[in-house]
Structure formats: structure tokens, C-alpha cells
């Protein structure tokens, strides 16, 4: 129980620092938030009025308390380009982004884990060096450039996959309960829509994951290599266990947790990187919302996205850490 308590405390502390950062971004860095909030065409009196209304005449510490108080009530302010509460905007935009990141993560894991394992098993062979070269190439690719090129070749030239959007035109009236079309289509018993959603997700998810796969592959490989050098592998070999059994029953479960922490962090990073992909593929989502907000210089909307991505990041890490704790008996018996 002690571990759980400590872990939660750490998350709360992280949340506090996150709000401190977003407070800095929205109240301190831009100079005068009242001018920002009033918009580009506001007069001097309106700005003065707003300053008092927003509590900007008070000291910073007091402002921070007011700010966190509002956050706790779910009040993120109004966006002045959609003219709606930012919270509503985000709740609408989050499901499509999470859907994208889930698929990107799945592709990431499907590539990184098996390739990392095999390249560790056959380390210093041609196979291993080509995998490492691939990882290096992946780490140098700009996400937005890959996205544009894939969109123009695979989707536009070869017409193998849809170019943009979340769903095909014939399904435009589709609407579900959760906002996750993958889940909604299954709930409503529409496999055709499920398939269509998946086809729309593939290219953006693939271009989003490449950079992260390069890192994941590397981490998995390193973790697995150190596992292969351990005594239990030698023991398994002397017992003449098959190579497949050693790889998947012995080494993989022992080496995977080390890389799982990184994959947990990547989940939040990917959500942040959707700013580079969603706009290109014309998908709704918080990435595109953030980009729009930036071009409209709507600082509060941008900062709200920072906050939400940060919270998702913290949650993902918390879940992964607790999962690892539950999976690993060593941690449980130590107490």
C-alpha cells in the first residue's frame, strides 16, 4: 500500500507543477493577459475593466489560487475563436485524438517489441544492424513531412487509403455515444463503419508513430540484450529449451517491463505530437484545435491543451507504473 500512496503523492505533485507551468504560460509570460483576453481590437477602458474582472490587480500568489480554484471547478475560460467554454471544446476534440494515439501506439508496440526482441537475440548480425539503421532513419524523419509524403503517395496517387477526415462521405451522419468511432461502431453493430474508421486512422497513426517507434525499438533492444546475458537464459539453454520458448516465455516477460515505462511516457508525447499530424489529415482533435488556437492567438485555449495533454500524460504514467507493480511480484513481497 505504501508504494501506491507514494505513487499517488508523486502524481499530485506533478499535477501541481503542471498547473504552475500553465499558470506561468497564461498569466506571466504573455505580459498582460488582459490585453490578450480582450482581443486585438479592444480599447483601453475595456482592458482596464477586464483587468479588475480577471483579478489581475491582485498579487501573483493570489491570482494563482484563484486560477487553481477555477481549474478545480472545470472552468478553463472561454475560447474566443469558437465562442464556447474551452472545456466543452476539449471534451469534444479529445476522443478523436485519443483514438488516433491508441492506434499509433498499437502500431508502435507491434513493431518495436518483436523487432527489438529479435534484434537483441541476433545482435551484431546483419539483421540487427539493419534494424538499428532503420531505427536511426526513423529517428531522423520529421513527422509532418512523412505525413505529407504518405498522404500524397499512398492516399492520393495509389488511392490505397483515404486522404483525409475521420469517416467516408457516405457515413457523414454517423454519430455515437462516446465520440470514439471505433467503439461506437461496434456498439451499434456496424462493422463497415468500424473498418472505415480504421482505414482513415491508419496513415495518420503510422506517420505519428514512426519517430516513437525508433526510440521504442532501441529501448526494447537494449533491455532485451541485457536479459539474454542473464544466467536463467543459460540454464534454459542447458535444459535444451527451444529458442522460441526462451525468447517468448523467458526473456520477453522479463525484459518488457523496462521498456513499458518508456511506452507509457510515449503515450503522452504522441498526444502532444498530434499537432503535427491532425491538421494535415483534416482530422478533428486537440492537435488541430491547438494549431487553430495558436493561429488565432487564443492563448487560453492553447494553454488548456497543454494542461489536458499533461494530465493524460500523468494518468498514462500512473497506470503503467501501477500495472508494473501488480505484474511484478518482487515489488509486492518486498514490503
Amino acid at each position: 500500500m505504501n508504494y501506491f500512496f507514494q505513487r499517488f503523492l508523486f502524481s499530485i505533485l506533478s499535477l501541481f507543477i503542471l498547473t504552475l507551468i500553465t499558470f506561468l504560460l497564461s498569466h506571466v509570460v504573455p505580459g498582460d493577459p488582459a490585453i490578450v483576453a480582450a482581443g486585438p481590437n479592444a480599447g483601453a477602458e475595456k482592458i482596464e475593466l477586464l483587468r479588475i474582472e480577471m483579478g489581475l490587480d491582485k498579487p501573483l500568489s493570489q491570482q494563482f489560487i484563484i486560477y487553481t480554484g477555477k481549474l478545480l471547478q472545470g472552468d478553463l475560460g472561454n475560447s474566443w475563436f469558437t465562442h464556447q467554454p474551452i472545456l466543452d471544446d476539449l471534451l469534444r476534440e479529445l476522443p478523436p485524438s485519443l483514438e488516433l494515439v491508441f492506434i499509433a501506439m498499437t502500431i508502435n508496440l507491434l513493431i518495436s517489441l518483436p523487432l527489438g526482441l529479435c534484434s537483441a537475440r541476433y545482435s551484431d548480425t546483419i539483421f540487427d544492424s539493419s534494424v538499428r539503421l532503420l531505427a536511426m532513419v526513423g529517428a531522423g524523419l520529421p513527422i509532418f513531412w512523412t505525413a505529407l509524403i504518405l498522404q500524397n503517395t499512398v492516399a492520393a496517387e495509389w488511392q490505397a487509403l483515404p486522404i483525409a477526415g475521420r469517416l467516408s462521405f457516405e457515413y457523414r451522419s454517423f454519430d455515437g455515444y462516446t465520440g470514439f468511432y471505433l467503439i461506437d461502431s461496434l456498439l451499434l453493430g456496424r462493422p463497415d463503419i468500424f473498418w472505415d474508421t480504421l482505414r482513415h486512422l491508419f496513415l495518420p497513426a503510422f506517420s505519428l508513430c514512426l519517430l516513437f517507434t525508433a526510440v521504442g525499438l532501441r529501448i526494447t533492444r537494449t533491455a532485451m540484450i541485457s536479459e539474454f546475458q542473464k544466467d536463467y537464459v543459460l540454464l534454459a539453454r542447458t535444459k535444451a529449451a527451444s529458442e522460441l520458448r526462451i525468447m517468448f516465455k523467458h526473456v520477453f516477460p522479463n525484459g518488457a517491463p523496462a521498456s513499458l515505462t518508456v511506452f507509457g511516457m510515449q503515450f503522452g508525447w504522441m498526444l502532444g505530437a498530434t499537432v503535427l499530424v491532425e491538421e494535415i489529415y483534416g482530422r478533428p482533435g486537440i492537435g488541430r484545435y491547438a494549431v487553430k488556437a495558436v493561429t488565432q492567438s487564443d492563448i487560453h485555449a492553447v494553454v488548456a491543451v497543454v494542461l489536458v495533454v499533461g494530465v493524460v500524460f500523468l494518468l498514462a504514467n500512473l497506470i503503467v507504473d501501477l500495472l508494473l507493480y501488480i505484474l511484478n511480484p518482487r515489488g509486492r513481497f518486498k514490503e
Binding site: A139, L276, F313
Partner: protein, 279 residues
């Protein structure tokens, strides 16, 4: 052994030597880009709009008839130098914080490192986006934004190294001899930290470069007529289906630079890491 020789020594395969050559070539282009560019990178020529690569314009012309090759060459300084300035400032700030934290020890060290840990985790791109938006979009804002989100890397690393060095007997010796603090830092800690830091720098260059160009692509970094590689891609997006060269070549420039730095970083890590582990 000079730094240059050291680098050359570390590049084992011809492949790595080639990457090393590319890195020097890229830096050279970043310095001399404006001089060697065959045309004025901002010269608009509407008759040459979206002309494909030819003998006169090796990499074609963009939507306003500007020469793509000249723009890539003279844009190198924007991308490369902003990357280097991010790394330089982050190195100075991060290491100061890290070394301070290690020397301070106790609860001060604890608090600084907790903050760095947490800060490090938050997605750098989105943090930088928020910061750049708060400052107002410009290349300088993007640079500051990345500094703002990147410092914990170096704070943690330099603190770790300093802690390691502080536990060595020669520091105890220095203590006995009454060596002042600043001498301990400049003559004992920094030279020993050099190897580890240089690996981290080499590996960070590509990540920072991709982030800078990404921010410019979104529109919070360099603004569009500037030949920054990321904003060139943003500028060329609309024409991509009919004129691929407007998007492909600047992207290739980013990719090749990032890849060469990665290869060098990898070689450095392979050659220097055993030394670090044994120490």
C-alpha cells in the same frame, strides 16, 4: 588529441565517416549558405512559378518562383543555428542548475531534481507550443520555448555526473588542500563531464532540429517567407500534388541533417560509454 581528431577516430565504418563529413558540410553550409546560394532566396519570379527541377534551378522553383536550392542553402543557418543556440543555452542553464543542485545536496537537491523529473516528462512539443504561443509566434519564441522545455535533461545529467565525481578520492584531496569551489567546478567537474555531455548533445541535435522545424511548420516558429526548412514545407504544402519538389527537398534537408547527427551521436556513445561505465 584535438576534438576533430577524436571525432575522426571514433567514426569506425566508412558509413560513419561519411556521416561525419556530412555534419561538417552542413555546418559549412549554415555558415556560407548566403554566399554559395546561386540565386537570391527571396527573389520572387512569377513566370518561374512551380517550375520543376532543371539545369538553371537544380531543385526547382516554389509557389512564388523562388529557387528552392538557394532557399535550402540560405535557410540552413536558420535551422542549424537555432538548433545550436537552443542546445548551447540549455547546456549552460541546465548544467548550472544540475551542478548547483549536486553541490547544495540535501532537500534543495531533492526539490530541484523532483521538479526536473516532472518537467522532463511533459511532452516537450506541446509545452513549447504553449510557450511559443504565449510569447507570440517567431523563430526566437520557438527557440526560447524549446529552452524552456529542454533544460531538465541537462540538469539531471550534469547533476548525476557531478555526484559521481564528488564521490571520488581526488575531490577529497582537493578538499584537504583547500581548493575553492569555483576551481572545483571548472577544473575538476567540467572536464570530467565533457564526454557524457558531448554524447547527449550529439543525440539531442536531431530532436531539437525536428522540434524547431515542427514548430515552424505549425506556424509558431519562423514565419513563412523566411527560408527555414519547416516553414518552407508549410509554404509548399498547398502545391504538393502538382509540385512535389517544393515539399520533398526541404524535408530531405531536415532528414539528412538529423540522420547524420544521429549516426555521429550513436558512434560517440558506442566509443565513450564503456569509459563512463567503468569509471
Amino acid at each position: 588529441m584535438s576534438l576533430l581528431e577524436k571525432f575522426y577516430f571514433f567514426a569506425k565504418s566508412p558509413f560513419e565517416k561519411f556521416a561525419l563529413g556530412l555534419v561538417f558540410f552542413i555546418i559549412l553550409v549554415a555558415i556560407l549558405g548566403d554566399v554559395i546560394a546561386p540565386y537570391d532566396p527571396t527573389q520572387i519570379d512569377f513566370r518561374g512559378k512551380l517550375q520543376p527541377p532543371s539545369m538553371e534551378h537544380l531543385l526547382g522553383q516554389d509557389g512564388a518562383g523562388r529557387d528552392v536550392l538557394s532557399r535550402i542553402l540560405s535557410g540552413a543557418k536558420l535551422t542549424i543555428f537555432s538548433t545550436f543556440s537552443v542546445i548551447f543555452v540549455v547546456l549552460v542553464i541546465g548544467c548550472s542548475i544540475g551542478i548547483f543542485s549536486a553541490f547544495a545536496g540535501g532537500w534543495v537537491d531533492n526539490i530541484i531534481m523532483r521538479i526536473a523529473d516532472i518537467w522532463l516528462g511533459f511532452p516537450p512539443l506541446i509545452l513549447a507550443l504553449g510557450f511559443a504561443a504565449a510569447l507570440g509566434a517567431s523563430l526566437e519564441a520557438a527557440i526560447w520555448a524549446l529552452i524552456f522545455s529542454w533544460w531538465p535533461n541537462y540538469a539531471r545529467l550534469s547533476r548525476m555526473i557531478t555526484m559521481d565525481i564528488l564521490s571520488k578520492p581526488f575531490i577529497l584531496g582537493a578538499q584537504v588542500l583547500g581548493v575553492p569551489l569555483w576551481r572545483k567546478i571548472t577544473f575538476y567537474v567540467l572536464p570530467n563531464a565533457f564526454d557524457v555531455l558531448i554524447i547527449q548533445i550529439a543525440l539531442d541535435v536531431s530532436a531539437v532540429m525536428l522540434s524547431i522545424s515542427g514548430l515552424s511548420f505549425i506556424g509558431v516558429g519562423a514565419q513563412i517567407p523566411a527560408p527555414e526548412w519547416g516553414s518552407m514545407i508549410a509554404d509548399g504544402r498547398a502545391y504538393m500534388s502538382s509540385a512535389w519538389w517544393v515539399v520533398v527537398f526541404p524535408g530531405l534537408a531536415i532528414f539528412v541533417s538529423a540522420l547524420s547527427f544521429n549516426i555521429i551521436g550513436d558512434a560517440l556513445r558506442r566509443e565513450l560509454d564503456p569509459l563512463i561505465r567503468s569509471s
